[in-house]
Amino acid sequence: MQITKLPNGLVIASLENFSPTSRIGVFIKTGSRYETTSNLGITHLLRLASNLTTKGASSFRITRGIEAVGGSLSVHATREKMAYSVECLRDYVDTVMEYLLNVTTAPEFRPWEVADLQPQLKIDKTIALQNPQVGVLENLHAAAYKNALANPLYCPDYRVGKITSEQLHHFVENNFTSSRMALVGIGIKHSTLKQVAEQFLNIRSGSGAPGAKAVYRGGEIRKQTGDSLVHAAVVAEGAVVGSPEANAFSVLQYVLGAGPLVKRGSNVTSKLTQSVAKATSQPFDVSAFNVNYSDSGLFGIYTISQALNAGEVIKAALNQVKAVAQGGVTDADVTAAKNQLKGNYLMSVETSEGLLNEIGSESLVSGTHTSPSAAAQKIDSVATTDVVNAAKKFISGKKSMAATGDLGSTPFLDEL
């Protein structure tokens, strides 16, 4: 695993594992938080526009060229980070690398191609919103923050058809700069990546437009639909990426319960599940919710319940967190949670996709790489008191809430 930081700020990381397939990603510190009200939804279109014509290759050529070698090109985006990744057999790395660089550094955004792509925004959003979880999380962020992180990942409906090619160019000019990018490769030599980066990824220097600092406000957004299942999330401000608090919140998440660990298991060991099961006999699901951004975070609970017992489920879950905040957690619980967290983390970096994601995210944030064992040690260093303090922070913090479904029996924030 080698990592180099160029003078212009670009980070190059590679792991030569002699695997038959290579995976290369360009990670960029940009996302929906860097949008303003005049260009909302532009990152969504940017995600979809990764195969449009570039200066060195036409749309057809990119698609055909990558398909011909059996590769794939994808864009993964969160609110703060976009990752363009290609995956292919080792021998064809040069071909797909050329396309990847074209897409990230020299897109043309031809007006007619951009116009033809805009209806796809709607389709993409509809497919994503099939899952109520996506809608709830978007609303949660919109309720919790005033700006930046409140921007949705998916383009608002009124903006479909209004995003222009000039806006896209402007956004790319200001955000896809060398100091905010990281080039990561798995199954490729470091020297190759370095050469490519020095030659091609040097075009936009500087740090580009700075994003606004996210301001937490704590609100609630309720969306009444006819759905018989109520999805609700109640959160408070959490920890920032990389801080020791972040590890404490992660451990707290696993102490409370973060999803079934046994396939087709019923999650009985989760504290949240146990406490909610005492409150209702109807089907439900509950999990601790935790997300960390570069200047803020969210921690709380996410519940899915029948419309009639939504109130009981949410209150039971919150009471459980309160119990943990009052010290109702043993060292054994914390150790178990740490093991689960470690296991989860280590298993996620076993796949090349997860590993690429991990290396890329870390390179963007700090320009260094923490080995899995070091990360495991950091997790181990979290004490029970840290966990309790994290829970206290949640209980005392200003809450935000988002709920979807038939909300007749769902309590408001001030009723919780």
Binding site: T63, G259, R264, E362
Partner: protein, 273 residues
Amino acid sequence: MLSVAARAGPLAPFVSAAAHAVPGPLRPLAPAVVHRDQKVPLDLKRPLLCRESLSGRAARGGLVASASLNAPASVRCVHNDVTVPDFSAYRRQDVQDANTSSQGSSDSRKGFSYLMTAATGVATAYVAKNVVTQFISSLSASADVLALSKIEIKLSDIPEGKNMAFKWRGKPLFVRHRTQAEISQEAQVDVSQLRDPQHDLDRVKKPEWVILVGVCTHLGCVPIANAGDFGGYYCPCHGSHYDASGRIRKGPAPLNLEVPAYQFVGDDTVVVG
């Protein structure tokens, strides 16, 4: 340092949708055709009803949105947005009811179809035959040539004993009004002695009229009438003698003079050819 994936815990599939510009072989695909006004076909196969099916559905971490791109050449595996047009205007009345079996009407439908096919086949064959014969018969002799091919001869203009020569089809035609003496003389000739044995009565329809093509069967000269040793014709070129019936008697010619096809029309007219 933990990435989004690790901080979020095991990411359930619904909180990360994937955007693949060029989907590899194992990626889910989005519909390739963009319908601006129509509803998007959704995957509605997951009713969340029981405890087990809800397990793991609660979100644990932030969203990672990766939208499925429509690569221009992407393959569609689900064609659930293709609308089949309504063909009821073209269908038979008997089979439009979806709730009744179509077996009952199958005999009549088949019968009608076969009848129409057979009738059309017959009509087509008739027409085809006519068209073909018209085209091919246009290659045969035209009317003016055919008109020239027959000749009408008025028999009362030819006195007894006289041989009249006419031009017919480019060849001389001899019409001879024979006397009774000539007829009986020719009838008595021994047929077995002739080079080309033919009885006189076989060569004529009415014995008093003999109609011959006046071309010598040796090398094609025109014989002279009422000349030669046998009271018939004599070819001056090489000395072939023919009798009054046009049969070769002496000389180099191998065959008798040709008798053309002719018809007596009425008492007074003969049509040759």
